[in-house]
């Protein structure tokens, strides 16, 4: 039995962005177990300085291709709060629909394309095209529909176009929404049920590992919180989203170009599992049924189950999208002009649940509507400390399984968080190699 272990996974695959897994164990003592973030820094906060409020969301959506809609929504909310731009009820409904589309898209992409290959012990989704064609075709169909929500409502799913400060540059037609509704009912719901069946047959491949931690998500009295809500900690309860700095406390670690975060412990969990643990009482029956089928319990402390929580909440996105479309069609779509006349200037904060957790943007605007200061705190950055803490507990527990098995479980652990590393490296460039 080896008590020396040296694992170094460079440029981990099937995650968004560049990260390395580094584990060192010497004579039975764990010296290092961490996810090193080596993504090139992009200096978004510096880039935003001096830019017009018209451009803030255009720029920040480019922080990340996968999360572009989330960045855009959060950016718009921060700008609107800072400049006193009120938006209509229709705008909020359309934005909530967009968040559902993006969450659905991202969660499905993660489950089928990035996580499933591990469950089936293959290197990517491509071999599945030959071995499990019906599953791949189903995944593509689900993703297509989720993307179509983005295309129809925001002009384009990646780097959306029509959402602007104060509203939308154009709104979808009733006919387009009716078509989305039809496909959600006829295609998405059965495909979702089939997805649950497929995952159920693979559930044995999900590693058993428990570590209790702090779970932080948004929470709303009205619904399963995604577009907005208060910040809610499983340890200390709810605070206003304007207080986000108290709940994130960004700090620098030498092994990551992305800052880490903490609230009441050394680290916390953000993302689908946190949302599930904090807000499962707000889920629809379709989601709760899926959770039961897949063995996801309230108070779950297995981080590998995050993938399952993502699938479960996808059902909520489907159900609520249908409700939103019905309300939009019932009210009749109005060709409203975006409200772009600032009524004040200063500071504004936006917080949104994006697929990987809570995303925060804070801007300070000057009198001319230009950004003086910007701060963005990204979910993956919030999770990095929790991933390191998971690894420190996990490695000693599985040290007897051999290097390959350990490496796979560590890779699966990181992928379970669905990390978005491009997002998280929005600011810092820290040299860590010796």
């Amino acid at each position: 039995m080896s008590t020396n272990l040296d694992i170094n996974v460079k440029h981990l695959t099937r995650v968004e962005g560049h990260g390395n897994i580094v584990v060192n164990m010497k004579d039975g003592t764990l010296e290092k177990a961490q996810l090193e973030i080596v993504e090139a820094p992009r200096y978004f906060e510096a880039m935003l300085k001096g830019r017009s409020f018209h451009e803030a969301a255009i720029i920040t959506s480019r922080i990340c291709g996968i999360c572009s809609l989330g960045h855009q929504m959060t950016s718009l909310k921060a700008t609107e709060q800072a400049l006193g731009l009120d938006v209509s009820e229709q705008t909020v409904l359309l934005r909530r629909l967009l968040v559902h589309g993006a969450t659905l898209q991202s969660n499905i992409l993660h489950a089928y394309f990035l996580a499933a290959p591990d469950f089936l012990k293959v290197g990517s989704v491509f071999p599945l095209v030959g071995s499990h064609p019906e599953v791949v075709v189903r995944a593509l169909r689900m993703k297509r529909l989720a993307n179509d929500i983005g295309d129809v409502v925001s002009g384009r799913a990646v780097h959306p176009i029509t959402p602007v400060p104060g509203g939308f540059t154009s709104v979808p037609s009733a006919r387009q929404l009716e078509e989305i509704k039809r496909r959600l009912i006829e295609d998405m719901v059965p495909d979702f049920e089939a997805t649950v069946e497929t995952l159920k047959s693979l559930a044995a491949a999900i590693p058993q590992f428990e570590r209790e931690t702090e779970y932080i998500s948004l929470r709303s009295d009205d619904r399963y919180a995604l577009y907005d809500g208060d910040i809610c900690s499983s340890d200390t309860g709810r605070v206003d989203d304007g207080e986000y700095r108290k709940m994130t406390n960004e700090f620098v670690v030498p092994h990551s170009t992305s800052k880490h975060c903490k609230a009441n412990r050394t680290s916390y969990f953000a993302g689908a599992l946190a949302r599930w643990n904090n807000n499962h009482d707000k889920l629809c029956d379709l989601a709760l049924g899926a959770a039961e089928e897949l063995g996801l319990q309230p108070g779950c402390t297995n981080p590998y189950m995050n993938t399952i929580a993502q699938v479960v909440e996808a059902a909520e996105c489907v159900t609520d999208s249908l409700a939103i479309i019905d309300q939009l069609l019932g009210d009749g779509l109005k060709d409203e002009l975006p409200n772009q006349e600032p009524t004040r200037y200063g500071r504004g904060v936006g917080a949104t649940e994006v697929p990987r957790g809570i995303l925060y943007h804070e801007y300070e605007y000057d009198r001319a509507g230009r950004i003086v200061k910007a701060n963005c705190i990204i979910p993956t950055g919030q999770n990095l400390g929790n991933i390191d803490d998971d690894m420190k507990k996990l490695v000693p527990e599985i040290v007897d399984e051999g290097k390959d098995a350990i490496t796979l479980k560590l890779e699966m652990l990181v992928r379970a968080y669905d990390p978005c590393i491009s997002c998280s490296v929005h600011m810092l460039d820290v040299e860590f190699r010796d």
Partner: protein, 248 residues
């Protein structure tokens, strides 16, 4: 005919262009039928020693990027730049418009000298790029055109005319007529004027037309309500590197 061996690489960027490739739900299986994808970190494990076509996303902004792009170029018969970051530096180039000392200070304060950084560069400013797929994110339509041309062994045609042409072909109401500004007049077409079609102004993501008359464009923007500084900021959003060359 052996299938071309294709590899996909990402540098400094948001990976939205790669995601766009995963978003070809309708064509993905047709694309896969034509090629062997031998390396693509975002979607699969595995590495390859040589490839017929390398698609490169992102701009080059660290010493490591420069090292890696030379390696990609050595191993690739054809190199295609994907998206605004790779083609012209893209939105990362906004960083270059601030004095680099100021950027580093903004981020690191007193520790600024600890951390080296490079201006964000277009791939073509370091190695030879054979073809471009422009846009932020890259235009899917153009990707398919370039991809099909390469698979057929044809030369892809890069449009040189402005977005206005495509906008007019669709008889869109002019964005200026809606009381907004627009960079369509000096931005390269190929996107089918997608943003103006859905009511948003063209932000210039596909790069400038060849030999753009930027002085005239500045006058248009000022005539329509921007001050000179703001006019150039808007022009720089995706084209900071090129504009820097024109203005200095």
């Amino acid at each position: 005919m052996a299938k071309p061996r294709v590899a996909i690489f990402d540098f400094t960027g948001c990976e939205g262009c790669e995601l766009n490739q995963l978003n070809f739900e309708d064509q993905l299986l047709d694309i896969l039928a034509h090629v062997d994808i031998v390396e693509w970190r975002e979607a699969m494990d595995g590495h390859a020693d040589e490839y017929d076509i390398a698609f490169v996303e992102g701009s080059l902004s660290t010493p490591d990027c420069i090292k890696r792009i030379h390696e990609v170029r050595r191993k690739a018969k054809v190199l295609v730049a994907l998206g605004a970051c790779a083609v012209q530096g893209g939105i990362n180039g906004v960083k270059n418009t601030h004095p680099i000392e100021e950027v580093r200070e903004e981020v690191y304060g007193e520790d600024k000298y600890l951390f080296p950084t490079l201006p964000a560069l277009a791939v073509s400013s370091v190695v030879k790029v054979d073809y471009n797929v422009r846009g932020c994110p890259m235009t899917q339509l153009e990707f398919l055109k370039v991809f099909t041309a390469l698979v057929l062994g044809k030369e892809p045609i890069e449009p040189e005319h402005s977005v206005c042409v495509e906008c007019k072909l669709k008889e869109n109401e002019c964005v200026y007529a809606r009381g907004m500004i627009c960079l369509g007049p000096v931005t390269r077409a190929g996107c089918d004027a997608h943003c103006p079609t859905v009511g948003q102004y063209c932000t210039g993501c596909r790069g400038l037309v060849p030999e753009p008359n930027l002085k005239a464009m500045e006058e248009i923007l000022v005539e329509h309500g921007l001050n000179v500084d703001e006019a150039w900021k808007r022009l720089q959003l995706f084209n900071a590197n090129e504009i820097e060359g024109v203005r200095s």
